[in-house]
């Protein structure tokens, strides 16, 4: 498969490594956002960003391997992410209802 | 199911029955506990009766598979070494129950149940011939004792109970590691097979391995003994424990440690045991002197007796690591002696506590005037404890010291100092408690022995005299067992160094093939 790896180019002629780097950058941005943003909603969005970064990798790899499964994975991930979003937003909502804040740093009553 | 199984099982059965009884039936529970323990004792006498002298190896063997994989056996049996320790356990349990008759009101059901559970564990420890089974019993003993101290103890009972548990636990986990390691090397937990494999050289341990394994076992046992400087749990545990707890702790539980040293450390790791003997003996001797000196200045009777135990057990360890027949015999005999005499001391101190509700020596004085028989019994016990000839401890101490003299005379010189010191602290305490003017408190609150208390004391005193005067009732079987152990502890010292020569000595038909790391290691192939 190594030969395949070298020979394969996407239609536009963009090497796979570019996609992978983009994916990694997006993932890292997501991580950074999680670490540095204070709004819970933003943090949650950062997770979505991370998942989508992974999706990009999946698609890129699927293309490289000429397989369909990678694409299907993307759909799985999207469905799961959607479910997660539904539940997550509900949780965030109850938190806001109870505390009237969405600052992630103020949700720290359980500790030590 | 033979007699020995029955002796082990009966207390467990009693434990379950006691738990099932309604807690309001306090008297019935007590009667049950006493009955079960007495029955166990009577049954255990059958062991003495049926024990065949002159036959090496264990008797009354039951060997059934308990757990198939890894193969763990219910392998119990007794030899001359464990016989008397089993009897000691069954002998003292009824006494412990009887002496708690009036002292325990609070949660009596649990108390007596725990005492029976303790007996189960103790007998099991001494009877187990499977390393795993041994460890199981070893740990089982811990639980009831923890509760006995923690629930029915005195003011600082919680500290003492937790300390007791953690100390012992810390030692025994390492032993567990050692047991597993041996299992992996030899492929069995069965002690007979392990010994055969080790002595025939089929299970090769490198020098480092043997030393580390020895230390793992030794640490667990040394904590239990307790050997200086691992002894500080003992005074706390004793002072805080209820009388029955102290009696069982001092008389039998400490022997688990010394028993383990003799049974396991010597035959399994002969080279390491011999190589490390010198510093162990040094610690034992320090313990003898140190324990005595610290006992000398204790203001609390129980603490004094506890430190005296440290001193006495030092003799036992000294005897064991003298690697002489008489030293080892003496050490085992001294285990029994200490069990009887220190048990009696704790019992009598307990009687005093029940009367005066104090353990402070300063709160007493002149007891001899108001309670002459109590004083006399205490005196006899004191004398036994300080090794008066014709009473039991003398025989043991003499043999231990004789053994150490054969190994290294300078050991004996230092260890004998303990004999002087023991007279100092015991007699000084005796003087302050029993002699002198009777103070008011003592005059009104210290009656002489009751019938029940007599029943507790008399068997112990009889044993002190019997064991002191006619050791031949006990020693010959012990000697036989020890001779074998000594033999094993010599066996492969030269074999270890050079593997090829081994074949000349090893019996040709070994049932078990040598276990190599590859075979035991399982899935080297899979990697």
């Amino acid at each position: 498969m190594a030969e395949a790896m070298q020979s394969i180019n996407l239609q536009a002629g963009v090497p796979i490594s570019w996609y992978l780097v983009l994916s990694a950058v997006l993932f890292s941005l997501g991580v950074a956002g999680f670490l540095f943003r204070k709004s819970i909603i933003t943090v949650f969005m950062c997770i979505e960003l991370m998942l989508n970064a992974v999706n990009l990798s999946f698609v890129a790899f699927a293309n490289q391997h000429k397989q369909v499964s990678g694409h299907i994975f993307t759909f799985f991930v999207m469905v799961v992410a959607a479910a997660e979003a539904a539940v997550g937003l509900a949780i965030i909502l109850t938190v806001f209802k109870n505390r009237e804040t969405l600052n992630i740093d103020e949700i720290n009553s359980l500790k030590n | 199911m033979n007699l020995l199984d029955l002796v082990i099982a009966l207390p467990a059965l009693g434990f379950v029955l006691a738990l099932l009884m309604p807690r309001t039936q306090e008297n019935a529970i007590k009667m049950l506990a006493l009955g079960v323990s007495l029955a166990t004792f009577v049954l255990s006498l059958g062991l003495v009766n049926g024990f065949q002298s002159g036959q090496t190896g264990q008797q009354f063997v039951t060997d059934n598979i308990w757990i198939a994989s890894p193969e763990i056996h219910w392998h119990v049996g007794i030899d001359g070494l464990s016989l008397w320790l089993v009897i000691l356990s069954t002998f003292l349990t009824p006494i412990a129950i009887l002496l708690s008759w009036k002292a325990i009101h609070d949660r009596a059901k649990e108390f007596f149940a725990f005492v029976l559970l303790l007996e189960f564990g103790l007998v099991g420890v001494f009877a187990a011939w499977d390393l795993f089974l041994f460890y199981v019993f070893w740990e089982v003993v811990l639980v009831p004792m923890y509760f006995l101290i923690g629930i029915w103890g005195h003011d600082r009972r919680i500290y003492a109970a937790v300390k007791f548990f953690l100390y012992t636990m810390a030692g025994s986990v390492l032993m567990l590691a050692g047991i597993i390691f041996i299992y992996l090397r030899v492929g069995t937990f069965d002690y007979v097979q392990i010994l055969a494999a080790i002595s025939s050289g089929h299970a090769m341990l490198t020098h480092t391995e043997e030393t580390l394994l020895f230390l793992a076992f030794f640490l667990a046992f040394a904590i239990k003994v307790p050997l200086f400087p691992l002894h500080t749990w003992l005074p706390d545990a004793h002072v805080e424990a209820p009388t029955a707890g102290s009696v069982m702790l001092a008389s039998v539980m400490l022997k688990m440690g010394t028993y383990g040293l003799v049974r396991f450390c010597l035959p399994m790791f002969p080279t390491a045991a011999r190589e490390n003997a010198s510093w162990i003996v040094a610690l034992a001797i320090i313990g003898i002197v140190y324990g005595g000196l610290v006992a000398l200045v204790q203001p609390n009777m129980k603490k004094l007796v506890a430190y005296s135990s440290v001193s006495h057990l030092g003799f036992v360890v000294l005897g064991i690591f003298s690697f002489t027949q008489i030293g080892l015999d003496g050490a085992v005999y001294q285990m029994l002696n200490h069990g009887i005499s220190t048990g009696a001391l704790f019992l009598l101190v307990g009687f005093l506590y029940e009367r005066r509700h104090s353990l402070a020596i300063a709160d007493f004085g002149g007891v001899a005037t108001v309670a002459p028989w109590l004083s006399i019994m205490f005196l006899v016990t004191t004398l036994a404890s300080i090794g008066l000839p014709t009473l039991n401890n003398f025989v043991g101490e003499f043999m231990v010291l004789q053994g150490s003299a054969q190994a290294n005379f300078s050991w004996t010189v230092f260890a004998s100092l303990g004999v002087i010191i023991s007279a100092c602290y015991m007699l000084w305490m005796y003087q302050r408690v029993f002699f002198g003017e009777t103070n008011e408190e003592v005059k009104h609150h210290v009656p002489d022995l009751s019938l029940r208390e007599w029943a507790c004391v008399i068997p112990l005193v009889v044993m002190m005299v019997w064991m002191g005067m006619y050791s031949q009732s006990f020693l010959p079987v012990v000697s036989e067992a020890n001779a074998k152990i000594l033999d094993q502890s010599k066996m492969n010292v030269p074999l270890r160094v050079a593997a090829p020569r081994m074949t000349e000595h090893a019996p040709p038909d070994l049932s078990r093939p040598p276990v190599t790391a590859a075979a035991a290691g399982g899935r080297a192939d899979a990697r």
Binding site: M1, A2, F27, G30, I40, V43, F44, I47, M50, L51, A53, V54, S57, F58, F61, H65, S69, F73, F76, V77, V80, E84, V87, G88, I91, T94, V95, N98, R99, I107, S109, L110, K111 | I67, A68, S69, P70, R107, Y135, V136, F137, V140, L142, V143, G150, A161, V162, F165, L166, M169, A170, L174, L176, A177, I180, L184, G521, G522, A526, R527
Partner: protein, 488 residues
């Protein structure tokens, strides 16, 4: 590739437990509006029935071992073992929950439905042969659990626990997913057996360091789920904040499932790069044991203490993993069962004493329990002794098998440190015994109601299990031993 996409009968049989649970969960949601007011307990009964049926189904499926659904699923002894385990955990959780839900006057239908879904996700997970299936099972399990963790909507602690669990859980899952993507990229497959084959034929070096990175990232996700250090930080907060039955459920079922898949992935797919991940497990095991045990020493909150203890126990299981052998796998399996039982039992007592709104969850609140309710205290004692690892309890044999495996694999120091750790752990478990037996009854215990039937069952069943595992571990162990050969 099988020609037909239509599932065969065997496939359906192998998927039966999940089907049962999913159908039952859906049924409960349908029934919810009808019976919520009239008979709140009905849902509990129904879910127990569903779990029992699922157990039967799991055994049936075990009779027809093999791959299913285009090799996405694998039903083998290993899967069955964990399926049955999580199902049993489900039953006991339901038993625990009767009293709790009643006391908090919470809706029961939804709760049990979520529980069923969560367990179905775990069943799926343990039977996965495909990283994508793992991901989906994990998410089914997790999403349901996120909701359960915040089940009492108006409780601030519940909210916070749910939020933390949700955010951090998703975060960690994203890492894992990234790992899946990378391994897919490297080998072109997500099927475990194919990955293994690929690594074996090409040699892991061919994809260095991609496979290694993938393994590490998956490790992050899984270690997070099993609350192993250094990814354990969420566990104490979440276990403390979540409703007590949910806490114990989280500490047992998803954990067991995550460990199962941890074992399956690393010992099958990544067997070839064992030299790379074994040290990670080693270090993680040591860190988990040490952090869990030492941090637990000073805790005053019962739930939080048990949370730290569960971190430590995760560390013990990781020791088994680190030994990377059949015996290690079997040891881990055995330990997880024993651990689940003792944790469930201990939490049952916590639920018993905590009172409405979980006001009484300090360790001191147990004071004098042995005087007022000796049987409850005795049962808790059994669980605690098992947690300490005293012989004749399941916890002891669990530790024994694990450390045996470690020594067998020459992890002598890990074994010794682990055993010493278990001696440290004895201290904080003993503290509970001390409080129960040696302190005088406090207000909490004085005003304690008797055990409800559900709680009683939730105490007695695990206790029986603990003793069964402690006295006659042979049957379970030999099953585990047999199953362990499926994941190598």
């Amino acid at each position: 590739m099988p020609a037909s996409f239509a599932p065969s009968a065997a496939d359906l049989l192998r998927y039966a437990p999940e089907t049962v649970l999913t159908v039952a969960g859906t049924l409960l949601m349908v029934l919810d509006p009808l019976f919520a007011k009239k008979s709140p307990k009905l849902f509990g009964h129904l879910s127990i029935a569903a779990f029992l049926v699922a157990i039967v189904a799991a055994f049936q499926a075990n009779g027809a071992q093999g791959l299913a659904f285009s090799n996405l699923l694998i039903v083998d002894g290993f899967a069955t073992y964990f399926r049955v385990l999580v199902l049993i955990i489900g039953i006991v959780t339901v038993l625990l929950s009767y009293r709790y839900l009643d006391r908090e006057q919470a809706e029961t239908g939804e709760y049990h439905a979520l529980l069923l879904f969560s367990v179905s996700g775990q069943c799926l997970m343990v039977a996965s042969n495909d990283l994508m299936m793992v991901f989906i099972g994990l998410e089914i399990s997790s999403i349901a659990t996120y909701i359960l963790a915040g089940y009492l909507r108006d409780d601030k602690r519940n909210n916070e626990a749910a939020l933390k669990y949700f955010l951090l859980g998703s975060f960690a899952t994203a890492f894992m997913l990234y790992g899946v993507a990378l391994i897919y990229g490297a080998t072109g497959t997500t099927k475990l057996d194919e990955i293994r084959a690929a690594l074996l034929t090409r040699g892991a070096d061919a994809w260095f360091p991609m496979v290694g990175i993938a393994a590490a990232l998956m490790f992050v996700g899984l270690a997070f789920k099993v609350s192993a250090a250094p990814f354990q930080v969420w566990a104490p907060d979440v276990y403390q904040g979540a409703p007590a039955p949910v806490s114990v459920f989280m500490a047992t079922a998803p954990k067991a499932a995550a460990f199962a898949i941890f074992l399956r992935i690393f010992t099958t797919a990544f067997n070839q790069i064992a030299g790379g991940w074994e040290p990670l497990v080693w270090i993680s095991a040591l860190l988990s044991m040490t952090i869990g045990n030492f941090a637990a020493l000073t805790q005053t909150n019962l739930k939080r203490m048990l949370a730290y203890s569960s971190i430590a126990h995760a560390g013990y299981v990781l020791v088994a993993l680190a030994s990377h052998s059949d015996d290690g796998t079997a040891g881990a399996m055995f330990y997880l069962a024993a651990y689940a039982l003792m944790n469930l039992g201990a939490f049952a007592v916590v639920i018993h004493i905590s009172g409405k709104g979980e006001k009484h969850v300090r360790i001191e609140d147990l004071a004098g329990l042995a005087r007022r309710q000796p049987v409850t205290a005795a049962l808790l004692t059994v669980f605690l002794l098992s947690l300490i690892g005293v012989p004749l309890t399941g916890g002891f044999f669990g530790k024994f098998y694990i450390f045996r495996a470690a020594l067998q694999s020459n992890l002598v120091w890990l074994a010794v440190l682990g055993l010493l750790n278990s001696a440290v752990a004895a201290y904080y478990y003993l503290r509970l015994l001390v409080v129960m037996y040696m302190h005088e009854p406090g207000d909490v215990v004085e005003n304690l109601e008797p055990l409800t039937p559900g709680l009683r069952a939730a105490l007695i069943l695990p206790a029986i299990g603990i003793f069964y595992l402690g006295v006659a571990p042979g049957a379970v162990l030999s099953f585990a031993k047999l199953s362990s050969s499926f994941v190598r």
